[in-house]
């Protein structure tokens, strides 16, 4: 019985959201605000059960790790941002999180996105490889270099290297964006199909039962 009511609620809310396609209305706004509210509430409950209880409350209450009081106090200081007169205290934990995140992030980015990507672009162009592999490698190397030339704005895009290079780079970038558009369509349509499938097969068949 609860499942039947649930499916009906889900269907009504789904149709409420889709009513926006005709025009903005009360039903859509109710569904939209309800979505934001339940999202926030679910996230709160999840934080409580997944982190506050096992990683903060339990170590302190059982006495296994009193050091977690330090991050807990820092976390509570962060909440002082909601109180204008005390908000200056929130800068302490924010600066710790931002500083640590920036340091770690910078190193991670160098280790993941810069060095391995540059080294993976150094591909063989002739020794012991078939002509198709050589052509692909040439396209990859040429594409990366020309696309990077396009993004180099410290000098004017004129002449053989910067002029022609950036023109070729634009072509590679257009192909990249075209591919991204092509794959984006599939991702967005997949959700629509899922909702229509729910409405047709779960809800409508329930109504006719």
């Amino acid at each position: 019985m609860s499942e039947i009511i649930g499916i009906n609620i889900a269907a009504i809310l789904t149709l409420g959201i889709y009513s926006f396609l005709y025009e903005d209305n009360f039903a859509y706004k109710i569904a939209e605000y309800l979505f934001v509210g339940t999202s926030a509430g679910y996230a709160m409950a999840r934080q409580y059960h997944s982190i506050i209880v096992p990683n903060v409350w339990t170590p302190i209450s059982t006495g296994t790790d009193y050091y977690v009081i330090i991050p807990t106090v820092l976390g509570l200081l962060m909440l002082t941002m909601l109180v204008p007169s005390l908000s200056v205290l929130s800068r302490i934990p924010i600066s710790i999180v931002v500083g640590f995140g920036a340091g770690m992030g910078a190193m991670a980015v160098v280790q993941t996105d810069i060095i391995p990507q540059i080294s993976a672009t150094m591909l063989p162009l002739w020794s012991n490889i078939s002509w198709t592999v050589a052509l692909n490698n040439f396209i990859i190397i040429g594409g990366v270099i020309c696309s990077l030339i396009y993004f180099f704005f410290s000098t004017e895009h004129k002449g053989l290297v910067f002029g022609t290079g950036s023109q070729i780079g634009i072509m590679f970038l257009m192909v990249t964006f075209g591919a991204q558009f092509g794959t984006t369509i599939m991702g967005r349509v997949q959700l629509l199909i899922n909702r229509c499938d729910f409405l047709l097969n779960d809800w409508v068949s329930l109504l006719f039962k």
């Binding site: 934001v36 409950a45 909601l82 990507q117 993004f151 075209g178 092509g182």
Partner: protein, 208 residues
């Protein structure tokens, strides 16, 4: 001034340098142990950052209701949804009872439907805006057609070549362009991170 700017910048610098050195510290060394412990502490602080965001959302909507804003009915709906979900979730548990019911029959359908609206808008935008006005935009469109047809069964039914050409475009030409974008973004991110650590960039403090 010390609490407002100097202390946060000092902490940011110390934590940033600590993170950079800790990243490369060998396992078992004191630096590595402190680094791993500190990472666990940051997980707890990050939780409170999430709660801060949620708390701010609730505060803003509560103020709207108290000030008799025209959208107060919707704000009340938001607050009711948040408090009921959080309340039952904390008291009963997330993966059972009312909270699980809300997750399965309200939150999940709403989220999926919200994002599915994009499918309609993408189709509308494709009709209204995608014009082959120049050679570059023609290249973009032709690539989009080939990739779209290569990724669905009907494309391979029309001509099996669509799948292999689409795969080649994605793994070679697209890959080269994406890599250039990634390299540029990565260098920019590293520069931005260094600016934050060195105190050149202080926008994260939220202004004076």
């Amino acid at each position: 001034m010390f609490l407002r700017k100097t202390l946060p910048m000092m902490l940011c610098f110390c934590c940033g340098v600590f993170a950079m050195f800790g990243f490369f510290a060998a396992e078992g060394t004191k630096l590595n142990i402190y680094y791993e412990n500190f990472a666990k502490w940051l997980m707890i602080i990050a939780t409170f950052a999430m709660l801060l965001g949620i708390g701010n959302l609730l505060r803003v909507n509560t103020l709207k209701i108290l000030k008799n804003h025209p959208d107060k009915i919707y704000c009340a709906m938001l607050l009711a949804g948040a408090l009921i979900t959080a309340g039952f979730g904390i008291l009963q548990g997330i993966d059972k009872g009312v909270c699980m019911y809300i997750f399965n029959y309200i939150l999940t359908p709403l989220q999926k439907t919200m994002f599915s609206l994009l499918a309609f808008f993408v189709a509308s935008a494709a009709f209204r805006a995608f014009r082959a006005k120049s050679f570059e935009s023609t290249v973009l469109l032709i690539t989009a057609f080939i990739v779209m047809l290569g990724r669905v069964p009907i494309g391979t039914s029309i001509w099996p070549g669509f799948a292999s050409i689409s795969e080649w475009i994605l793994s070679t030409v697209n890959m080269a362009g994406s890599r250039a974008i990634t390299l540029g973004a990565a260098v920019g991110a590293t520069a931005a991170a260094l600016k934050i650590i060195l105190g050149i960039e202080t926008k994260y403090l939220g202004g004076e």
